[in-house]
């Protein structure tokens, strides 16, 4: 029989969290609505950036939950609820995605009938890039994610009471099925919402590129939540330096992976120098965009690489928290760099506007509200998980 030798007392998160979240959400949403009134095109592009950010955190978190099951990892079990809560963003996407459909004309060149009529290549892509199919597959993907999310997390919560090991087994099977579904749906989401913004451009690695960023963003979000909760005493003494080290090491691995994929994509296109591919990078070399391109190398790779290089820095909660917040920003800049240069008015260079700042505020507020709501309802630690004891005893 399973023995848990610690007493878990469920505690609510501090009340300030929901208050702060609410303020951020309300202020952010109000400013965003104003943005739509001022400049509809710029607003919807910015909305897309924040939407993709939320997809990254939600989907990446569910992937990490699935990865834990499938790899049989134990060290991440004590704080598995954190990615489970973040994955709770996935059903919300069903609502969040709707403005993107409404303003499709501002976003997607391929949604313009007259543009398609002029362009032979767009006509060739019409069987894939058309609004009906686009909306249908988007809902199918979000539906699948929500389904896997709800079944997997429900099993996990049921285990808190029943301590039934067969639920772990069920989730392992679900996770195994989820991974291929995840790979394909994530790829096509990346193609639909980001690659197709420049409908003549193509790159086979694009899905992998977005995947790398997704995992970085999700891990960063989880790390921040774990460290903040640990600081407030929600996780002590069960989460030790060794757990933090493992999170830091994973973050380190995935920023390297991101850099590897980004470099591969750039090198191959730069080297072959084919006009149908290079224009995409050339746009991102125009005017102010060159700063974003160079900044991305430094912010998304160089700085976090050296910050997380040594063993002590991965164990240091302060450094780790700072770098995790930094990486969330880095991923936001990455998405911004992917999406915004496709705006017709920004093709020749970046022009600053306050609109670029308001959407992430609303997004942050939403994430905080949702996290708080789920944390109120459910245990912060999966107390029924058979691997929990091993996870708490985890030592390097």
């Amino acid at each position: 029989m399973l023995q848990i030798d610690f007493q878990y007392q469920k505690k609510d998160l501090p009340a300030g969290l929901s208050k702060k979240g609410l303020i951020l959400f309300v202020v952010g949403t109000a400013l965003s609505l104003l943005a739509f009134y001022v400049d509809q095109e710029r607003a919807i592009f910015n909305y897309l950036v924040t939407y993709m950010m939320i997809v990254s955190i939600g989907l990446g978190s569910l992937f990490i939950v699935a990865l834990e099951y499938i790899a049989g990892a134990d060290w991440s079990t004590p704080f598995r609820r954190i990615p489970e809560f973040f994955a709770g963003l996935l059903p919300v996407l069903l609502i969040l995605v709707i403005p993107l459909f409404i303003f499709n004309h501002d976003l997607f060149q391929w949604a313009h009938k007259e543009a398609v009529a002029e362009d032979k290549i767009l006509q060739g892509k019409a069987p894939y890039l058309n609004l009906t199919f686009f909306i249908v597959r988007t809902f199918v993907f979000i539906g699948l994610w929500s389904l896997f999310y709800s079944v997997m997390t429900r099993n996990s919560r049921k285990q808190d009471e029943s301590k039934d090991q067969s639920l772990t087994k069920k989730n392992i099977r679900l996770a195994a099925v989820f991974i291929p579904v995840f790979a394909l749906s994530l790829t096509f989401t990346a193609i639909d919402f980001m690659m197709s913004l420049a409908p003549n451009w193509f790159s086979t690695i694009f899905g992998v590129y977005y995947f790398a960023g997704t995992v970085v963003a999700a891990l960063a979000a989880i790390t921040i939540a774990v460290i903040l909760l640990k600081e407030k005493g929600y996780f002590s003494p069960w989460i030790t330096d060794d757990h933090l080290f493992s999170l830091g090491a994973l973050l380190f691995a995935f920023i390297n992976f991101w850099a590897y994929i980004a470099f591969s994509q750039f090198l191959l296109i730069w080297y072959a120098d084919l006009p149908e591919e290079t224009f995409w990078f050339l746009t991102r070399w125009n005017g102010g965009w060159v700063l974003f391109s160079l900044l991305l190398i430094i912010v998304h790779f160089a700085v976090p690489y050296f910050a997380l290089l040594t063993q002590p820095s991965k164990k240091n909660p302060k450094i780790l928290k700072f770098i995790a917040i930094w990486l969330l920003f880095a991923h936001l800049i990455d998405l911004f760099w992917l999406i915004m240069p496709n705006m017709q008015s920004m093709k020749n260079g970046y022009v600053f506007s306050w609109i670029d700042l308001v959407f992430p505020i609303a997004g942050l507020g939403l994430v905080m509200l949702l996290f708080n709501m789920l944390a109120k309802k459910f245990n912060l630690i999966p107390i029924g998980d058979p691997k929990l004891k091993r996870g708490i005893d985890f030592h390097l």
Binding site: G72, K120, G124, K125, Q165, G207, L268, E276, P386
Partner: protein, 458 residues
């Protein structure tokens, strides 16, 4: 079968004592080789000799004996090169990446897989050197101040290959040797033969199992693993650059780097399983290389097989999506052109058959997995064949299309590389500990203190 998830599966089955483990691993080296050993050696040796003879002919009469000709100038040599480099990737993956992921089950197979890496890279290294027909001129690949005042072209992926493969070989070898030092010391202290003792002493460097050394040793091992991990990715990435920096449709596609790496791990694991199945049987290592380990490797084969399948699908989709006629043609041509047979061998062996590993029964049954992993090896060889041949045999100009056929010399040299590989593997099993004695002792039952001595966790 029910698994208790609250317990970690033991790495070493059968509750062996440390002395028993050492006895098991050292047995092949302490006993005289038997008949089976010589039969196996003579088979692989014959293959090696066949390869050597065909190679000698190729050097004497020139590479005109091979099938390479316009328009397919890159054929068997590069196919075999990429195949063998790929095989080599499993070793470093097991020894470095799984080490960093603290997967303890790797200890039983790491040494063997590392050895296979070294041998596979040796086999791979042969092909770029011989493909010019004048291997004695390979010195020009090195950037040294020569009398022509010329330097190698550092922007060429072929030069990157030289650096990548030689670095990979060196680092794998060093990694392997560092792991062997404590085992040489153990062998030195248990042997009674004077000659063996001298040899082991020299290679053990006088290792004393001192804990003041173990501290640095473990640190070094982690550093090496930390470097070997990106290195292993970089090697097959650079191999993929050989193709992908060109502008040939079917070669120039941005997913090549991760796709090649996944394929390399896929084929490498398949080869490791192929060989380990025999080794654990012949040397009674079933307790150390358990069926659990094989199952885990089969799971990795399944996962990487699906990654490869994802890459095939993505290439096809983006070729259609790109709207570039020559891109679209290449993929239609692959699947339905004159080399369709090779393409469908590739798809079925790499994507379809490994799906059988979804079934636990098949993952844990030796004959089943044997068939599948051999099919995977075949499929991965054909993958490189398909990539290399289909794109060059039919490129932009229909007037210069052709159909490539290998000659008996191409096939002979390929067989010879298998001969070299298996000869080295067979000799290795008899001359060095096939399992890391010190590492496997460290993960045996009761090998680690029950208290975390002196360690205090907040």
């Amino acid at each position: 079968m029910n698994i208790d998830y609250s317990q970690q599966a033991p790495v070493v089955a059968g509750r062996l004592t440390l002395a028993q483990i050492e006895e098991l691993v050292a047995k092949p080296m302490d006993t005289k080789p038997n008949k089976k050993f010589f039969i196996a050696l003579s088979i692989s040796g014959s293959l090696l000799i066949i390869g050597a003879v065909f190679l000698a002919f190729s050097f004497y009469y020139g590479t005109g004996l091979w099938g390479n000709n316009q328009p397919v100038g890159w054929a068997f040599p590069i196919v075999n090169f990429v195949f063998w480099v790929g095989i080599g990737h499993a070793g470093t993956l097991i020894s470095a990446i799984l080490f960093l992921l603290r997967q303890k089950w790797r200890t039983g197979i790491a040494r063997f897989a590392e050895a296979m890496t070294i041998f596979a890279v040796m086999c791979a290294g042969i092909f770029p050197v011989i493909h010019t027909g004048r291997p004695w001129l390979a010195g020009y690949l090195m950037p040294y101040p020569n009398q022509h005042g010329l330097w190698v072209n550092f922007t060429s992926p072929l030069v990157w290959d030289v650096f990548a493969v030689s670095t990979y070989f060196t680092v794998s070898f060093v990694f392997w040797y560092v792991g062997l030092i404590p085992d040489f010391a153990t062998m030195r202290d248990r042997t009674s033969s004077k000659i063996k003792k001298t040899i082991y002493s020299v290679f053990s460097l006088g290792w004393r199992h001192s804990n003041r050394h173990w501290t640095h040793y473990e640190k070094a091992y982690m550093l090496l693993a930390g470097f070997a991990t990106p290195l292993v990715l970089s090697v097959h990435t650079i191999v993929s650059f050989d193709f992908a920096v060109s502008i040939l449709p079917g070669w120039h596609t941005t997913i090549f780097p991760p796709y090649f790496v996944a394929g390399a791990i896929f084929s490498g694991f398949a080869m490791v399983v192929t060989v380990l199945v025999f080794v654990r049987k012949i040397f009674d290592l079933e307790h150390i290389i358990t069926i659990d380990h094989l199952e885990k490797m089969n799971k990795i084969i399944l996962a990487t097989g699906m990654m490869v399948g994802y890459a095939y699908a993505m290439e096809f989709f983006i070729a259609w999506y790109s709207g570039v006629p020559s891109e679209q043609f290449v993929f239609i041509n692959r699947a339905f052109g004159p080399y369709a047979w090779a393409y469908w061998i590739m798809v079925s062996c790499n994507v379809i058959f490994p799906q059988l590993f979804w079934f636990k029964k098949i993952r844990r049954t030796v004959p089943f997995m044997m068939v599948i992993v051999i099919l995977v090896n075949v499929g991965m060889w054909f993958e490189r064949f398909v990539i290399t041949i289909t794109s060059t045999s039919r490129d932009f100009l229909p007037s210069s299309w052709g159909y490539y056929k290998p000659t008996i010399f191409d096939i002979g040299i390929l067989l010879g590389s298998f001969g070299l590989f298996f000869t080295l593997v067979i000799l290795f099993t008899k001359s060095l500990p096939v399992v890391s004695i010190s590492e496997i002792k460290a993960v045996a039952d009761g090998a680690q203190p029950t208290i975390h001595g002196g360690e205090h966790h907040a």
